[in-house]
Amino acid sequence: MKPVAAKTKTDMEGEGELREQQEEEIVMPQTTKTMEGELKEQQPDPREEMDVTNLHPLSPEIISRQATINIGTIGHVAHGKSTLVKAISGVKTVRFKKELERNITMELGYANAKIYRCVDKGCPRPLCFKSCGSEIKEEDSPPLCDNPERHKTRRMQLVRHVSFVDCPGHEVLMATMLNGAAIMDGAFLVIAANEECPQPQTMEHLAALEIMGLNNIIILQNKVDCVKQDKVRDQYRAIRQFTEGTTAEGAPVISISAQLNCNIDVVLDHIVNKIPIPVRDFKSKPSMTIVRSFDVNKPGAGIDELKGGVVGGSIIKGVLKANEIIEIRPGIVTRDGNGNLRWRPIISRVVSLYAEQNKLDIAVPGGLIGVGTTMDPSLGRGNKLVGHVVGLPGSMPEVYTGLVVKFYLLERLVGIKGDQTVTRLVNGEMLMVNVGSMSAKCGVITVRGQLATLQLSIPVCTSVGERVALSRRIANHWRLIGWGTIQSGTPRQPHQEDESS
């Protein structure tokens, strides 16, 4: 039926439109039921078969597919960060504008790159380095060395797989604090040679690095092709001067032209030789906080071609493996007719793991990964699972709907703009509480001294001792008024399906 024909009768009252739901419900398998069958076929614990204790962030089987080192790129907006990342990774980073107008959100741009080194030990630095995008080419054919003296015949070996995280302003801090999504192992500070230095934003960035205790900084003087040589030298001195006494003091300064691909090999050399290999916990039971969840099916896909829901996030500790049985908590959250909250974990199987386009057999802490599961795809649609926690059944934190929090209120709102004292908590008032990367509203039930009993709008998967942030609606924004630590709470048991509703 074509749209023109359809616009005759059925549409008059807007009835009969958009009927996807009913049909989909018919198509959708009863996930929990079909899954039981699938689950039984699986090995009890695939972890036992593979010795993860020997893995590290440079293991070839890991870095051929997944980035294990995160490098933040910071610098003034027009200084060529994305050109640099493109020169290294071949990926044009798309950074979506903040919905600055009507919304408060954040987005980070990502691109991954592999760094190769010539197998010939005699091949001189930095000529022996080369980089390319993250995707796996043909498994056994690493690129050839570009060194013209060797007639481009030498094979190269993969030595690093890095993830570049575009950090405009302080978002890097937010991301680190809130999502644990991007723990930076090093940073590029990009300064354009054709600009006055330092730009105010550059100074802020340095201060931000300072606070994060980030030491592995490489300063890149970009766009050197646009200025005369003595100007480059002058700016170099200025950089030395303004980084004096900061965490970037003594950091290598490299003159590059990202546009002309000039000195990129020097940058690669520095990544390999100056940025230490991070220490990651591969041995614990895996834990990942979900930052994205999607449904990747075509509308109206038949039951046989239906793909399960996909969740994305960064593994905080441990490793996830294909075929592993996982639990997502709290998972399915509903309110019954009486207004009672119910939750039921999603037990599912990992059918695929990927980092960018690469399929993984095993995913480790590092950059963001996607996890394809067997769960009902509609469960993940539209980011419904953001903030939920992925782990292994039997080793998950508890789920709470009420928490007792030991809280501390700020004396006044942060910043001089909001020069306002923070008044005490009031019974019954609505606050926003951030627990991990989950935000929930809560009603304050009772306050006694430093202890507040909070009732949450959504169940959260967390642990006693975790930090929470408290915000109150002031001057039309949610403003931070204090923080606290979880003292206690009564874990809520999952809802059993056979109970009458």
Partner: protein, 334 residues
């Protein structure tokens, strides 16, 4: 941009004309007292008292142990009494009737905006509302709506008012399974459709690559048949949803430029398109991109505000000073 162009994009203005090609919507004028409730934060944030006893917060599960340990002795003077919560019985009744008429659940919206940024606050994590109380909660928690309430005409060259004289609550029928990838923003310049962009731009949807050509035809036809001659502005944007049966529905109108997100375009690019004889530029995310963090996490405004005088600004200044102090003292010590 002119005030009248902004005004045309209000749902109570455009919906009556596009009713047959939109999703079912019932619109109520809001009493000024409710508007004031949304804006007022002199006291603590409490929900209106519901006349039908509906609560947006799930029931509390009572636990005797907790009660014993943490229940306060009333009147210990350690807590402030909440001020008397407001009540909007008439509006609540009307809303209740409309929700029932629309099948039990709605997507609420003010003149221009929906409270998208407060989806985190609802139990379902969506904008689905079944009660007046839930609507009040979403609206009162949203920064997006502050734009409608206080700044709708800020980018108008002929700005005379700070807000429209009346506000409306639009209740739109809730469709639980709308697919984010089938929503598109259409850019109209000089009454010509010059650009179409995927609305949800953070994900790659293979289906869009396959269907791009079909979608382009459908949307262009829809524009020519249903929008071009009916919407009076020269330059504007509108959002459409393409259903599985290939029918197109208009979801929203927005002004050209300023606050409207250009998605996969930039406003500079769009501005440069010639006013006539231009080919439609249809943009989608065309390859698998890396997983990006989502937008769902709400954070205190203070975490994001870095402007002069903000908490971050102050913090960074302090850090700078501290650093300089330490540098000086270590130099002195050396």
């Amino acid at each position: 941009m002119k005030e009248e162009e902004v005004n045309r994009c209000q749902i109570q203005e455009w919906y009556p004309k596009f009713k047959s090609v939109s999703i079912r919507t019932l619109i109520h004028e809001l009493p000024e007292s409710f508007v004031q409730y949304l804006l007022d934060d002199s006291g603590p944030f409490v929900l209106p008292v519901s006349i039908s006893n509906e609560d947006a917060l799930p029931n509390r599960i009572h636990n005797p142990e907790e009660e014993e340990d943490y229940q306060v002795s009333e009147g210990s003077g350690d807590e402030a009494e909440p001020s008397l919560p407001p009540s909007f019985p008439e509006l609540e009744l009307k809303v209740k009737e409309s929700i029932e008429a629309l099948g039990g659940a709605v997507f609420p919206k003010l003149n221009w905006s929906a409270p998208k940024d407060s989806a985190w606050i609802s139990t379902s994590g969506t904008l689905r509302c079944a009660t007046f109380s839930e609507i009040a909660l979403l609206f009162r928690s949203s920064d997006s709506l502050i734009h409608d309430l206080c700044h709708p005409y800020d980018s108008c060259s002929d700005k005379t008012m700070s807000r429209p004289p009346t506000f409306f609550l639009a209740l739109r029928k809730w469709y639980p399974s709308l697919r984010p990838e089938m929503e598109f923003r259409c850019f109209v310049r000089g009454q010509q459709l010059v650009g179409v962009s995927q609305r949800e731009v953070t994900t790659f949807y293979p289906i869009l690559c396959e269907k791009k050509n079909d979608l382009e035809v459908l949307i262009e036809e829809f524009f020519n048949d249903n929008v071009r001659l009916k919407f009076e502005s020269e330059d504007y944007t509108f959002d459409v949803y393409v259903a599985k049966d290939e029918r197109v529905k208009v979801l929203d109108f927005n002004p050209w430029g300023a606050f409207t997100l250009p998605l996969l375009f930039t406003w500079e690019e769009l501005e440069q398109k010639p006013r006539e004889g231009v080919e439609l530029d249809f943009r989608i995310v065309d390859s698998q991109c890396a997983v990006r963090p989502g937008l769902k996490t709400a954070v205190p405004y203070d975490y994001l505000d870095t402007s002069a005088g903000s908490g971050w600004d102050q913090f960074l200044r302090n850090a700078d000073e501290e650093l300089q102090r330490q540098t000086r003292s270590s130099e002195a010590g050396a």
